[in-house]
């Protein structure tokens, strides 16, 4: 069975019509639909949404249309035994909460999925980047303060409980 655009529209309509439903997650094979109602658009909500979208990119999901000859930032080759934490949007990457402070993570450090590993600034709005996976930081690919593109690999993590 394949879910069509119309199926998804119907699902959204049903959810929209339900009075006491704020959040729902539907998993069907590879398909995952996550709907949150009444996002209030505050800074907190924005960072939250970003953090959530960072989870699937950091785990198994690869971008669907990998260019044969990428014209944008060359994709860093991701070794088989590591997971790449990717930029959830274009922005300026910061390794520490503010200048002069200690970086969120260093190579060799263990991280948990919920840990913040960096910040992404888009016009003075800071979004935290979560690890999305438990493991050990093995490589940091981007310099502090440099612009990163959407979906660019930032940090390699070797997954596993320590």
């Amino acid at each position: 069975m394949v879910l069509t655009h119309n199926d998804i529209q119907s699902i959204l309509k049903i959810i929209d019509a339900a009075e006491h439903l704020d959040e729902i997650e539907i998993v069907h094979g590879d398909f995952r639909l996550h709907v949150v109602r009444n996002g209030n658009g505050s800074l907190g909500a924005a960072s939250e949404a970003v953090a959530q979208s960072a989870v699937p990119t950091a785990t198994a999901l690869k971008p669907t249309a990998l260019p044969t000859k990428p014209a944008t930032q060359p994709a860093a080759a991701v070794p088989d035994d590591v997971v790449a934490i990717r930029a959830p949007m274009l922005g300026v990457f910061y390794r520490a909460p503010s200048p002069g402070e200690k970086p969120f993570v260093e190579v060799g450090q263990r991280v948990r999925a919920d840990d913040t590993v960096g910040l992404l600034e888009v016009m003075k709005l800071f979004n935290s980047i979560r690890a999305g996976v438990d493991g050990e930081v093995v490589k940091i690919l981007v310099d502090n303060g440099s612009m990163v593109e959407f979906d660019q690999a930032l940090i390699f993590v070797k997954p596993g409980k320590g």
Binding site: P63, A65, P67, T68, K69, P70, A71, T72, Q73, M89, L90, G91, V92, E121, V122, M123, L125, S146, M147, E149, F150, D151, Q152
Partner: protein, 460 residues
Amino acid sequence: MPSPPFTRILVANRGEIAVRVIRACESLGIESVVAVSAADRDSLAARLATRAVCIGPAPAAQSYLRPELLITAAQGTQCQAIHPGYGFLSERAQFSRLCAKEGLTFIGPSPEAIEAMGDKLSAVQLAEQAGVPRVPGSGRIEDAADARDFAQRHGFPILIKASAGGGGRGMRIVRREADIAHEIDAAAAEAKAAFGDPSLYVEKFVERARHIEIQVLGDSHGNVVHLGERDCSTQRRHQKLIEEAPSPAIDAKLREELAGAAVRLARRVNYVGAGTVEFVFDADTSRWYFLEMNTRIQVEHPVTEMITGRDLVVEQIRVAAGEPISFKQSEVRFTGHAIECRINAEDATQNFAPRPGRLQTWTAPDGEGIRVDTHCFSGYLIPPYYDSLLAKVITHGADRQQALQRMSAALADLNVTGVPTTAPFHQQVLVHDDFRSAKVTTRWVEETFLPAANAERLAT
């Protein structure tokens, strides 16, 4: 050689117009950075630009429509200016304002000019102040006698509209005096039922309308010039399909009138950049009325470039940098005739349904008097997220007939496999007597051409 107006420009658009802007940058010795969504990483624009930057996921709402991402991308790549193309953020006053605040030059008019023209009411008021007529309309009418007075002054047909209206409800076309009374009653009842308000007004109805627009260009030194008209009467559901210049429906005197009106309006808002003033032209009476002004480069700008030999995108970039327009009004010459067909990835036999997919082959025509603006290539995957425009085929000839001949030949040479295109539709329109004799009005495709074409297809 004078120094380039900028050293690096961010192209905040996609498709053929991104390619067009990159080429204009190249001709000026300016580096280009194109902002792409994840779906456009491998686009022609991304390959041609000095650099491509991926700003977000495929849906435009998460990429091309996000001002803050585009500005961050421009700043992160040391661009001095942003070219918005058409569509997306090109007519958002807020974006223009934000660029200025962040120290970037928006290649387009001031936020004030965008706002003045973007608001329909304010645009119409400015047009009236500039002595540019709009379609005659009444205030609220009380009864059939008011409508009768209006019709006597402006002639039939008239259009009865609901004051609270929209979406065509409560709208009635009245062609003769005997029908006024009962049509008013019917429209009032419909308006009451639909909007809870029976009040009505009437407008002059242009039965046989042509769409004629004037290209203007302004700079920050107070110069405003026009580059003649484009006739875009071949439309379907208000989407332009074929454009040409000059218009086969107007003469030199009318051209001067329309152009004069457009220039007056542009001056009124201190217009800087390329803009288009659109008019409704009544084919029966040769009267014309202001429709709206578009404060950006238009899809169909190449037909104007073909008959004037001027590069409108290059001029846009120059005037945005504070340079004067590179030519005077007296230096604008119109040579021959140009026509443009928009080639969309749509199936014209299926109600123009969009058909994205992979282009197995793409071979564009080439030759004397032929220009093709496109972002397509063999193997290109047309993403389903954006509009279906694949290419603009433009031909130029000594006269209309030669331009049309060249267009028919060019479309025959356009070889596309993998997705259906609107090229066969264009081929049929080009040989139609109504089109050849310039009788086409804005409702012709829907009311005359398509019903006949569909009936013919069903019969065979």
